[in-house]
């Protein structure tokens, strides 16, 4: 249960921080930090048991049918990563609070950061690979939000998009790979997969699973050739870079390599894929990093290089290399996060992070200089810092590795990469802090407050401590974690500074001296580098995405020309085809059920219906006339519902009819009064044939269905259970809010989306070409200056309270008599529509108190909360409860939770109608260039001074 709590704490923190958006920044940081600290303490309390060999697990069923359950387990590997995520997360929260400028919304930033922290934590403690995938995608999404945090910067947006495309795309491959892996192992539970090594490596699907999983890991961990997104992601605020792009997210791929090491590693395929990729990435990243002037870009490429190093170590497939990998994960996280924060300090205090404009800061910023130098030298691999230890061990492993029969290849490349790495680390230190003092810094540099240098200082202390006393500080952890990664007792290793005169030491000395030499001749090296014809990965990516976009656009345009006639034609053609197919397979003759005799009133109504429909067709060129005939059809249909004993449907139909006609009138206002035919004659004949076949088919189908006895209809159950099960006698309403409550819930969401769709579509009407068209629009009829006549305004005022009472009445009785939330919502909407219509949009709008979008949200949330409420009582979602109560004066009455659900329905309906109305009115107002009016009536006798004018 504690693990569940740990995993939920960051998400709760995100929620709490976003709720505290109006509070001070310090308060928000305390909230975020408090939640993180709580998670850290919980984790620490588990650490002794976990390091003692105990695996803590927790389990909660989510979707057992899919094998997707909330299963967590904490072993030493998970513990190390969780510690890094939470610990560095805590430091970053403190750092970010002081780093962000006053204009940045810190609540949003911290909420995103906590979301990311929760997702990342989920990856490392998931015991279920499906759950792991969910968290994996969540890290991609939350990092997208964090990278693009400065939305106003185009680089931020582009970087975020690229990161999402690459890591999200890799995530898709990972999903496929994990599913294959799970199927081979016969379980989605990680602990069970980890013991199925034999089955997995002998399976013919092993290469497929391996390649797909590796794509996921390599994209996330920025391995060549997917490395290009990481430098672009540096557009993020520096705390994000320090957290995501050095210590946590980019390590997710490496984590997965380590996690699946016992079952995937050890084959030739693994070695050549993983070790080679790592080797190439390590070399390439280090080389590019040396020639980057932007400090963050330098650090980004150096991160790529170090991730390549880790990948290579895990790719070697030997237990000892895995031990080194684990150790280096720890070391890299400490010095790299510290360096990123250090670069952030320089950027923050000096105003630039361009290495060419820096230098000589050691006297101006002694604290930052000390911290940056120590972390930088650790990255260079100099004793007595932790970077030296793991690099030394890495070189030692490299000398034992034979690549394709070539014994010298891996050691030589590793040495060259180490040399380059030393060179760029020296460059970071030398070109920022040492050298002559300059007099053209953008700002006057000075050391920042402890809020900024404190967090990296903590990490730098670790760098030194691990470097000086490796066996005492990191030894036990590395021992336990390596045991998990290897899946067996790790080989003997000694974390110490001095191993004697080994080949690794000589390689290390070569690397450091060579690095120093390279930095000395940096200028000429840079000229050679610039002359090299190197492809730019970002341009290639941009070209590739552009190609994808053009291709998909070509295909879309070929299928969908934008012509509604064409789409409808295809749609109906397919529907008719399916209908013919269905009818030819089954029975389609009329049934034997007795028909109801048609009274003369029925015949008249039927004639009116047919007449109305024919009139719509005949008058289709006159839009307003068509609307009148359409309303005739709607009216007859609602009368038909009353006649056939469906009062609920009739009420709904008539109110929908009113709302639609009113909104359509508003829309038609701007269209030409006549619609000239746009299709050719042959096409109209074709459409007519299609329409006759479709209509005839539906008619025949209805006839065939209605002349049969229903075969065990579900309505019998609804009839029987409405009162005892749902507590209402109105079967239609009980069905809507109870039996099929989930459907209704989905429908109000669809309604909300549709309203937002109207909003979005018409929102663009004011801009661009359509906006210009609107501005150029001239009314085709002369408008009366008296737009809001007194009688109409006064009458509508009288109607308002009555309509509200009717709506309330329909709403309250809905459960037992015709009515309900949907109808009531429509009646309320009509009551308000009338006000808007009579008194003018502007005047009525001023008296509106609630945001329309909020109304829709409120409605859906109310319905959802009602549904979720039943979970509290251990019942399934949307189980309704009802009871009978007695109050003096009022008497016996019933209260049902369905009523709350119905409130949600009504609110959503009102919000949707009002949103459509306001958007249409906005467009109309813009088009008609209506002046501002203050009064609801154009002529008002009570404003006597004006009438005397």
């Amino acid at each position: 249960m504690d693990l569940l709590l740990i995993s939920v704490l960051p998400f709760l923190g995100a929620l709490a921080v976003s709720l505290a958006a109006r509070w001070t920044r310090t308060a928000q940081a305390i909230i975020a930090g408090g939640f993180t600290l709580a998670a850290v303490l919980l984790l620490v309390s588990k650490a002794p048991a976990v390091l003692g060999g105990q695996v803590i697990g927790s389990r909660l069923e989510w979707i057992p049918a899919l094998g997707l359950n909330v299963e967590y387990f904490l072993d030493p590997l998970g513990l190390m990563f969780a510690g890094l995520i939470l610990g560095i997360g805590l430091l970053i929260i403190i750092y970010a609070t002081f780093y962000l400028s006053a204009a940045d919304c810190s609540a949003r930033f911290l909420a995103f950061l906590m979301l990311f922290m929760g997702a990342m934590l989920g990856i490392v403690i998931s015991d279920n690979i499906l759950l792991l995938l969910v968290f994996w995608e969540m890290t991609s999404l939350s990092s997208f939000l964090l990278i693009g945090f400065w939305r106003h910067l185009p680089e931020g947006r582009q970087g975020a998009r690229m990161a999402l495309a690459v890591t999200g795309g890799g995530g898709l491959a990972l999903i496929a790979g994990m599913l294959v892996l799970g199927n081979i192992a016969g379980s989605y539970q990680l602990t069970e997969i980890l013991i199925a090594r034999e089955a997995i490596q002998t399976s013919p699907l092993y290469p497929v699973a391996l390649v797909l999983i590796l794509i996921g890991c390599f994209t996330k961990s920025a391995q060549f050739p997917f490395h290009f997104w990481l430098p672009q992601a540096m557009a993020a605020p520096t705390p994000v870079s320090a957290y995501l792009h050095s210590a946590t997210m980019v390590k997710a791929g490496v984590f997965l390599l380590a996690r699946l090491w016992p079952v995937l590693a050890g084959t030739d395929l693994w070695f050549y894929l993983v070790a080679t990729t790592g080797l190439v990435t390590m070399l390439l990243g280090a080389a590019i990093a040396l020639f980057k002037d932007d400090l963050k870009a330098l650090l980004a490429y150096s991160t790529i290089s170090h991730l390549g190093l880790l990948t290579m170590l895990f790719g070697f497939g030997t237990p000892m290399a895995a031990v080194v990998g684990v150790f280096h994960i720890l070391n890299h996280a400490t010095f790299k996060a510290a360096l990123f924060m250090n670069a952030g300090i320089v950027d923050h205090e000096v105003g630039t992070r361009d290495a060419r404009r820096l230098g000589g800061l050691v006297h101006l910023m002694p604290i930052a200089a000390t911290l940056g130098t120590i972390a930088g030298l650790s990255m260079a691999g100099l004793p007595p810092f932790n970077g030296f230890l793991s690099k030394e061990m890495m070189l030692e492993e490299a000398t034992h590795t034979v690549w394709g029969g070539l014994e010298w290849l891996v050691p030589v490349i590793a040495t060259v990469a180490a040399l380059l790495s030393a060179a760029y680390s020296f460059r970071y230190v030398a070109h920022v802090y040492f050298g002559p003092r300059r007099d053209d810094y953008p700002k006057a540099p000075h050391d920042p407050g402890i809020g900024l240098w404190g967090p990296p200082a903590v990490l730098v202390v670790l760098v030194v401590l691990i470097g000086l006393f490796p066996a005492a500080t990191a030894g036990p952890l590395v021992q336990e974690v390596s045991g998990v990664v290897i899946g067996a007792e790790p080989p003997y290793f000694a974390l110490k500074m001095w191993h004697g005169f080994t080949p690794a030491l000589i390689m290390s000395i070569v690397a450091v001296l060579g690095g120093a030499l390279l930095l000395w001749r940096h200028g000429s090296a840079e000229r050679i580098w610039r002359a090299l014809p190197l492809p730019v990965a970002k341009n290639m990516f941009d070209r590739f995405t552009a190609l994808l976009v053009t291709t998909s656009r070509t295909i879309t345009d070929a299928i969908d020309t934008g012509s509604l006639q064409r789409s409808l034609f295809v749609f109906f053609l397919v529907a008719i085809g399916l209908g013919i197919e269905g009818m030819s397979a089954g029975e389609y003759a009329a049934g034997a059920r007795d028909t109801i005799p048609a009274s003369s009133i029925d015949v008249i109504a039927w004639l009116a219906l047919v007449g109305g429909t024919v009139a719509v067709m005949v008058s289709q060129q006159h839009r307003f006339l068509t609307l009148v005939y359409i309303s005739v059809v709607g009216l007859v249909v609602s009368l038909g519902f009353i006649h056939l004993s469906a009062p609920d449907l009739a009420l709904t139909q008539i109110s929908v009819e009113v709302v639609t006609i009113l909104l359509l009138l508003l829309a038609l206002n701007l269209l030409p009064k006549r619609a000239w035919p746009t299709s050719s004659r042959t096409r109209r004949i074709r459409d007519a044939v299609l329409a006759v076949i479709g209509g005839g088919g539906v008619g025949w189908l209805s006839w065939a269905v209605m002349t049969r006895q229903p075969n065990d209809p579900i309505s019998a159950f609804h009839w029987a259970q409405a009162k005892p099960g749902g507590g209402g006698t109105n079967v239609v309403n009980v069905t809507l809010v109870d039996f099929r409550g989930f459907d209704t819930f989905g429908e109000i969401i669809v309604l909300g989306i549709a309203a937002l769709g109207i909003f979005a579509l018409l929102e663009t009407a004011a801009r661009g070409a359509s906006g210009r068209r609107l501005l150029a629009w001239k009314p085709d009829l002369i408008r009366s200056p008296e737009r809001h006549p007194m009688m109409l305004v006064v009458g509508s005022r009288l109607i308002l309270p009555m309509a509200i009472v009717v709506g309330l009445y329909l709403f309250l009785r809905g459960h037992n008599l015709p009515g309900g939330g949907f109808i009531a919502g429509l009646v309320f909407s009509i009551a308000m529509l009338i006000q808007y219509m009579a008194s003018g949009f502007e005047w009525a709008e001023k008296r509106r108190r609630i945001e329309r979008h909020a109304l829709i949200t409120l409605g859906i949330l109310t319905a959802a909360a009602t549904g979720l409420g039943s979970l509290v009582f251990g019942e399934p979602f949307l189980t309704s409860a009802f009871g009978y109560f007695h109050l003096p004066l009022i008497g016996e009455f019933e209260l049902a939770t369905a009523l709350l659900f119905d409130i949600g329905v009504a609110l959503t309906v009102i919000g949707a109608v009002m949103l459509a109305l306001s958007q249409l009115s906005n467009v109309a107002q813009r088009a008609e260039k209506i002046e501002h009016v203050e009064h609801p009536m154009d002529i008002d006798p009570s404003r006597t001074t004006e009438t005397n004018l």
């Binding site: 009829l781 002369i782 009366s784 200056p785 008296e786 006549p789 009688m791 109409l792 009458g795 009288l798 109607i799 009555m802 002046e931 009016v933 154009d938 002529i939 004006e946 009438t947 004018l949």
Partner: protein
């Protein structure tokens, strides 16, 4: 008592029906829109009114319960019918005055006393803006 009610109801229903028929007849037959507006007015007031009264007599006497529906119907009719007629007349005046599809039977342009004094054509606001920009007219 029942007998009296019965007689009243038997009279009221045909009278209501007759007015409704006459109103509809007038709607079809009368030549211009303004005259045609009179038809439905008779149908809604006298025609529907008589039938509502008949209904109000019938239910207490024969069914033994008082019904308020008729009062509500009356109320709604009294609010909506005049507004509808007013709006139709206004729209008609506007179209006639602006010269949009005039019906010769209306003979309106001559019939109007002074178009500038009708709210449909002029409001205070538009009058004021005319005073500021007299050239536009």
């Amino acid at each position: 008592m029942e007998r009296v009610a019965e007689i009243l109801i038997t009279i009221l229903i045909p009278v209501g029906g007759a007015f409704a028929l006459i109103g509809s007849w007038g709607l079809v037959r009368l030549p211009s829109l303004m005259t045609r507006l009179h038809g439905p007015t008779k149908a809604t007031t006298l025609g529907v009114g008589s039938i509502l009264i008949a209904s109000m007599l019938y239910f207490p006497v024969y069914e033994g319960r008082f019904s308020a529906h008729e009062l509500l119907i009356t109320l709604f009719l009294f609010i909506t019918a005049p507004i509808t007629a007013n709006m139709i007349a206004k729209a008609h005046l506007h179209r006639q005055g602006s010269g949009i599809d005039p019906n010769p039977a209306d003979e309106m342009p001559e019939g109007l006393p002074d178009p500038t004094n009708w709210a449909t054509f002029r409001t205070n606001a538009s009058r004021r803006s005319d005073a500021q920009h007299p050239d536009e007219n």
